[in-house]
Structures are given as structure tokens and as C-alpha cells.
């Protein structure tokens, strides 16, 4: 794996690199999440469901709904940030003006 190349190993601030400083270890975490998700989908047919509302009994409902929720939250949040973000002194300007009036 190219990420295990020692030349890409971060030498952070002259201190010994930690486990997460290696890209390959970050990849391990990533793929282990993918693996656990896969396992949770594989077990779907092997347990008895008690769907509350009908549609929550669909195959892997909680899985895809959770995934979708995360993606929607991030993508909508990103657009919201574009519209709503202002500089840190946005309100302090107003406060300053208020004081001038006072």
C-alpha cells in the first residue's frame, strides 16, 4: 500500500508520530467502519423484526436512512453555511454602532 511509504510518514513538530499519523491506520478505521456496516446488512435476514410503522421493516431501513441523514445534513449544511456565514465581527460592528448612538 503506497500510504505505508515511510517518506509520507508525518514527523509532527519533531515528536514521535502517533498511530493516527499514519495514513494507513486512518484507512484501517475507514474500512473497518465499512466492514461493520456490511456485517450489519448481512445479518438483516437473520433476526425477527418488529416494525413500528411498516416501512421501517424494509431491508436495511435504519442503515440507509442513517447514511442518507448524514449526507443530507452535510450537503444542506454546506449550502446553509454559504448563505448564513458572516465574519466573526458581524455583531460587534452593530454593537459598536449602538454605543456610538448611546
Amino acid at each position: 500500500m503506497k500510504d505505508s511509504d515511510p517518506s509520507t510518514t508525518p514527523k509532527l513538530h519533531g515528536k514521535a508520530a502517533h498511530w493516527f499519523d499514519y495514513r494507513r491506520n486512518v484507512d484501517k478505521v475507514y474500512w473497518s467502519i465499512v466492514g461493520m456496516c456490511a456485517v450489519l446488512m448481512v445479518v438483516e435476514p437473520f433476526y425477527h423484526k418488529h416494525p413500528y410503522l411498516g416501512f421501517d421493516g424494509n431491508f436495511g431501513f435504519y442503515g440507509w436512512y442513517g447514511f442518507l441523514a448524514g449526507i443530507v445534513l452535510a450537503l444542506v449544511g454546506r449550502q446553509m453555511g454559504n448563505v448564513l456565514a458572516r465574519s466573526d465581527d458581524f455583531y460587534s460592528d452593530a454593537a459598536g454602532k449602538g454605543e456610538d448612538h448611546g
Binding site: Y47, D56, G81, A85
Partner: protein, 562 residues
Amino acid sequence: MFFELPPGLLLILGALFLPLLPGTWRKAYMAFLPLAGLWALIGAEQGLFCTFTLFTYEITPVRIDGLSVVFGYIFHIAALLSVIFAWHNDDIVEQMAGLSYAGAGIGAVFAGDLITLFIYWEAMAITSVFLIWARRTDSAYRAGMRYLIIQVGSGVLLLSGAILIAHQTGSIAFDKMTLGTLATWLILIAFGIKCAFPFLHNWLPDAYPEATATGTVFLSAFTTKCAVYALARGFPGTELLIYVGAAMAVFPLFYAMIENDLRRVLAYSLNNQLGFMVVGVGIGSALAINGAAAHAFAHILYKTLLFMAMGAVLYRAGTVRASELGGLYKSMPLTTIFCIIGAASISTPLFAGYVGKSLTISAVAKGSHEIVWLALIFASAGVFLVSGIKVVYFAFFGTDSGKRFNEAPPNMLIGMGLTTLLCIAIGVYSTWLYNLLPHDVDYQPYTIDHIVNQLQLLLFTALAFAVLIRFKLYPPTISSINLDFDITYRKWLPAIYNLGIRFTGEGWKSILRDLRKGVQHLVAYMFRHHGPEGILARTWPTGSMALWVAFLLGGILLIYYS
């Protein structure tokens, strides 16, 4: 009751003696007070206590029953944990404010009438603002001022509603109310402000992140959960609350997603968790009220733990901005572990949040509120993403900021450790929490399908986060202010006011200017015609004028006597 003192008053009166005690004794005494209160509550009988009559109204300072006692327990526990977490802090203002604020919160949940509730309600506002001001920065002062105005305003609405109810019914008892009159609407709005309903919520993400590292830990526990209790007591089964709660559970998540200040992220996610409790109150069934109470109990613990972890980071790093942190697991490993457990406690099986939240979600499903249920499942996934994964990732992992700090002080670690133990204990042994709830519970959170479904929800949410980070789709962490509804009173209303002042000022000036001009014109006109050089003064008829005056006087005399 301890020394026959009502619960809560012990902490408030006890706080008055703090300045008399030297350093370590004072801290031991601070820890003793909530412990003593808790001990007294464990042995307390249910019923009404210390009642007396005031101007024909029955005042009930203490009502101990199933609903109040569960909040009473967790408030004492939260006070104790917060005191331990703040043990290193020698600021007497903060110590007194923290303890008396906790006392006011405890007093409020045991209040049996609206006037007692109002007194504790306002006491909470006045004592808690010092936890914000104790930060001693300009922005904390301003945020504290806004917070105080809104909180006191909530009390004024509560008092107005209470007076109207007293006038209409002749009773000030704090019991279940039905929406429909002005009085009940005023009281609902008063509760709604403290519960951070949509559009009334801005004080929460505005003020909590401005408080001190230890102050926010106190703040996160009492005010909002006291409001949840008040709603559960006053408005159970009010359908409107189901939809208000669902909106509350969803919309703050988007703000939490893009917010850079990690304590503000937690404040928004606190708001979102209140939504679950409000939905539970709105449904109003025994299962749902149990859900709201159990969730409040669990939520206080894990949110306290998360605010403690961020408090420890703020204490050491001087900032909790995601854009300035990262890689802190290297130098603050224990705080990292506690924060991860706090994140897991939001809704992972074997942790507190799971056993608390499951009740409400089941109650929603049993009520066949499909859309609300979908909103709550979305909110469950979302809060795990923003309040759990995001906070842990950006503070302790993520891109290494290169900053290294000492681990949190021992008392902070002990505070976080004890909270962690409680989060796990309640998660593993849910019976202990369920036995405290106001209604008898026959609910089993640990069934195979429930565990698998919950793990699917959480792990796939984690996968979504991992994918977003890997493909650089996650909203960038930029230091900024995100506009929320508070722009109305922080920017627009002052701007309209200033515009109004300028407009009326300019308008008045121009009216005066026109009047002055008019008078000048009139005087000039008169002078031109009647002045010494005027056209009517050419003949200078002084004699004829005297004649005309005499003639007029004569006329008046004739009219007078006729």
C-alpha cells in the same frame, strides 16, 4: 427534607455561607450540600409540604411526587458532578452562582404552585447569568445581558399567566393546564422560552458557549430540563408540542453541522435533544412522559460529560474552535476517552442515552406519527454525527494542530470519570433508571432487533461522516458567525430603531425648520405691508385708528347690555 428545609433552598441558603469558609473547606462544603440534598430526597415521602396560605391563595413550596422526584435526583447529581469538575476554580462569584443556580433549579421542580415556580424561575435566571459574566470578557458580558433579558422576560410572562389564572380560577396550583386562554398561552410561551422552542431558542446557543469552562457544565443541566419538567407537569398531551418538538429536534442540527465553536455545536445539539423530550410531553401517554423524564435524566449526564470535555479543552487550550484544534488525543488522552464515551452515550446501546431516548421514539411510533417518527430518527442520526463524531473528531483527531497541552486537572478528570461511570451504569442496568420514572414501565430496550437497528443507524451515520471527510465534502471548519433568528433582535430591530430615530429626528427638524420659515415669512409679509415703509402705513392713520378702537369698544358695550 433536610433540616426541614425545602429541596433546593438548602443549596441556595448554603451558598450564602460560602464566603465565610476558607478554600478547601469551602469546596468540601460545596460538594456536601448536593450530597445532603440527595440523601434527604432518597428518604423523602411523597406529598405536599410546607404549605401555607397567602392572601387566600394556597402556597405549596414542596410537592414530591413521581415526576418531580426524578428531576430532583438528577439535578442533585448534576450539581455534585459540576462542583467536582469545578473544584480547581477559586472564583467565589462562580461558586456561589453555580450552587444557588442548582438550588433554584431543584426548587423549581418541587414547586407546587405557580408563584413558588415563578420565584425559583427568576432565581435561576439571576443566579445563572453570573456563570456567563464570570468569563469576564466583553462578549460574555453582552451575551449575558441578552440572556438575562430573555430569561427574566420568560419569568414576567409566567407571572402574568399565573395572575390571570388566579383571577379566573381562584387557585394558583401548578397542575395540568389546557391551552385556550390567554393565561395558559402566556405560561406556555414562558416555558417555551426556557425550553428553547424554535424562534425562542437563540439565548441558548448565544449564551452557553460564552460562559466559563466550568459554568457551561452547570448551565447545561438545569434551565432547559426544568422547562421540560414544567411542560410535562403543565401541558402533557398538548398536540402542538409534538410538532414543535419535531421541528426543534431537526433544525438546530444544521447549525450544529456548520458551527465552528464546539461548545456552540453542543448547545445546538442540546436544543435538538430537548425536541425529543418536548415530543414526548406532547404525546402525553404514560410511556411518552416516562420517555421525556428518562431522556432528560440521561441527557443531563451525557451532555454534562460532553460539556466537561470541551470545558477541559477550553481550560487547557484557551479555545474550542474546531478550526484551531485537532490532534489533542496525543496530549489529552483521558479527556479524549471521556469525550468519546460522552459521544457514545448519546444513543449507543449500553450507554445512558439509548435507554432514555428509546422510550420516546417507541411512544411516537405507537401514536402512529409517521412524519414525526422519521424526523426523530433523522435527528437521532444527526445528533450522533454532530454532537458525537464531529466534536470528537475535530477536537481530538482530525488535522493535527500541532498544539500540545497538559491533560485536564485531576478534579476535572474525576468529574468526567464519575459522569462516565453513571452513563455506562444506566446504560447497562436500565432498570435502575426505569424504576425512578413517574409511571410503571414495562419496556425492554435490549431486544435483538432494537439493538441491530440502532447500531445500523449509528454506524451508517459514522460511515456517512467518514465518506464526507474522505471525499472532502464535509462543510469546512471556518471561523464565522452563522446567522440565526437572533439577527432580528441583535441587528434588525436596533437598525429599525436607529432608522426610526433618525427619521423622526430629521422629520421633527424639518417641521421646525418649516415652521420657523413660515413665521419668518408671515412676519416679513406683515412688515412689508404694515411696517413703517409698508403700503398700508403710507397714510399713518393714528387718529382714525383711535376712532375705530373707540367705535369697537362702544359696540361691545351695546352688545353686552342688550
